[in-house]
């Protein structure tokens, strides 16, 4: 969008983001109360984002579609696990979907990271829908800020683990370094990341 008039744009979009978030939260509560019809509403609002996550991790369209089915069937079975007081619903769902995809990767025979990033984004016109459900902007800024304090290597591999679902062994292979070296790089990064995130929770001088 236009760089010249960011304020009106962002306030309008954050209003619709709030509405979308609250509608989703309400649907999640109804689902937990046993209203199966709420599942379709949740599916319609979140499928593009959650499928994107599954696809990115699994790297195979068919596998990702199977994983997506599991995600929503599990959600229907376990809707009571979502605590509406705590997490933003889309952030919780994104984590839920990613964890299901990772579980699938570790228990199945699927290969990860097979898909190119461009390939995983076949429908740019759907992106605004996902944007309307943006997770908490403050936390978003903070995690990026803290990741930014890590050395390039730690950042790169932590992000690869998150986005591609790679294990320590796969990352070490790809970088052609011993497993212990990769573990050491990432663990140092995670220690520093933890300290930075904890400081932001305590200090409040996050932004």
């Amino acid at each position: 969008m236009s760089v010249a008039a960011p304020s009106s744009d962002s306030s309008r979009s954050s209003k619709s983001a709030n509405e979308a978030r609250e509608a989703l939260r309400a649907a999640m509560v109804r689902l937990a109360d046993g209203d199966s019809a709420a599942l379709e509403e949740i599916y319609t609002a979140t499928r593009v984002k959650l499928f994107g996550i599954c696809y990115r991790i699994l790297g195979d369209r068919k596998e990702a579609e199977d994983a997506l089915q599991d995600v929503y069937v599990n959600l229907w079975q376990r809707a009571d696990r979502y605590d509406p007081q705590r997490a933003s619903p889309i952030s919780w769902l994104a984590t839920f979907a990613r964890n299901r995809a990772i579980d699938r990767l570790r228990t199945g025979k699927v290969r990860s990271g097979a898909v190119a990033v461009e390939e995983a984004a076949p429908l740019p016109d759907e992106a605004p829908l996902a944007d309307a459900l943006l997770v908490d902007a403050e936390r978003d800024a903070q995690i990026h800020k803290c990741l930014g304090t890590l050395d390039d290597r730690a950042q790169t591999y932590i992000r690869a683990a998150f986005f591609e679902g790679h294990t320590y062994a796969q990352l070490a292979d790809a970088a052609d370094v011993p497993l212990g070296t990769m573990k050491s790089w990432i663990r140092r990064g995670l220690l520093r990341l933890r300290a930075c995130l904890e400081a932001s929770e305590k200090g409040g001088d996050a932004a």
Binding site: D70, S184, R187, L197
Partner: protein, 269 residues
């Protein structure tokens, strides 16, 4: 780039306590596999502090997923979800009325069984005798239980157990699944390690999908672990379990599983 990170790993740059401080993050990112992954899953079930720390990391990492582009799934995905949800509702309502036909993928026919056995290619080292036993198990399993019991989505309650005889020995591997908490207990207390092999336990889903690893069995120990949901949903009475012989550490990535050395099935207690 910082220079201090170039130190390889002499004398162990990180201490055990440092590792402990980030293991929940490693788990949340999905970096762990094999024994470490099983241990982390076990802690999730038994260590509330660890579970809280895992959740803390999940919440912090969640915003990163906004960088992932969305993508449109095929229309059949919703149909599949609706069929599974409706099917499970039907089977819950049918409860003891075993005559009610199940809809959707939970209805396992012998044709499905054939297909999935073919798809599941046990190759190297699988003796024909073992194969015959395995096939007999697969084909007899669905007929053994009343149909309503075959719904993979178990509605509630009773633990499922399997007692798996090990070869000609009097030893048994005990497996218990507790639906209320999604926990699995694997008791291998009578078994001993031979030092060259590990044994990996697999669940054979009723819906014909690929067998799912339940992990390497640790001889002489009783393990308790929280199962991931993609495994939980396949748990149910009559579900098959097989034990394969693998290299130390379990089935290597990208190769077929080793020979089946024992099998059994989960049944309601």
């Amino acid at each position: 780039m910082s220079d201090d990170a170039d130190i390889p790993a002499p004398g162990g740059p990180e201490s055990a306590s440092e590792r402990e401080r980030v293991v929940a993050a490693e788990f949340a990112l999905g970096l762990l596999e094999g024994e470490e992954l099983l241990a982390a899953r076990g802690r999730l079930a038994t260590d509330p502090d660890f579970a809280a720390r895992r959740e803390w990391w999940d919440e912090w990492f969640a915003p990163l997923s906004d960088e992932v582009s969305g993508a449109q799934p095929g229309a059949h995905v919703w149909d599949g979800i609706a069929a599974r949800v409706n099917g499970a509702q039907v089977s819950r309502e049918a409860a003891s009325v075993s005559a009610t036909p199940l809809e959707g993928p939970s209805n396992v026919t012998s044709l499905d069984m054939e297909r999935r056995v073919r798809r599941w290619q046990w190759t190297a080292g699988l003796s024909s005798a073992a194969a015959a036993v395995a096939l007999a198990l697969f084909f007899s399993a669905p007929g053994a239980a009343p149909q309503a019991d075959e719904a993979p989505l178990i509605a509630a309650g009773a633990p499922l157990m399997a007692s798996i005889p090990i070869g000609d020995t009097p030893l048994r591997l005990g497996v218990t699944f507790i639906p209320a908490s999604d926990e699995m207990l694997v008791s291998a207390s009578g078994l001993t390690a031979d030092g060259v092999h590990d044994h990996e336990l697999w669940l054979v889903p009723e819906d014909g999908s690929a067998p799912q690893s339940l992990g390497v069995v640790v001889p002489g120990e009783e393990r308790r672990m929280l199962l991931p949901e993609n495994i939980v949903q396949n748990m149910g009475p009559g579900v098959g379990l097989v034990l394969t012989r693998e290299p130390i550490g379990g089935k290597p990535e990208g190769v077929d599983a080793g020979p089946v050395v024992a099998q059994g099935q989960l049944d309601a207690v």
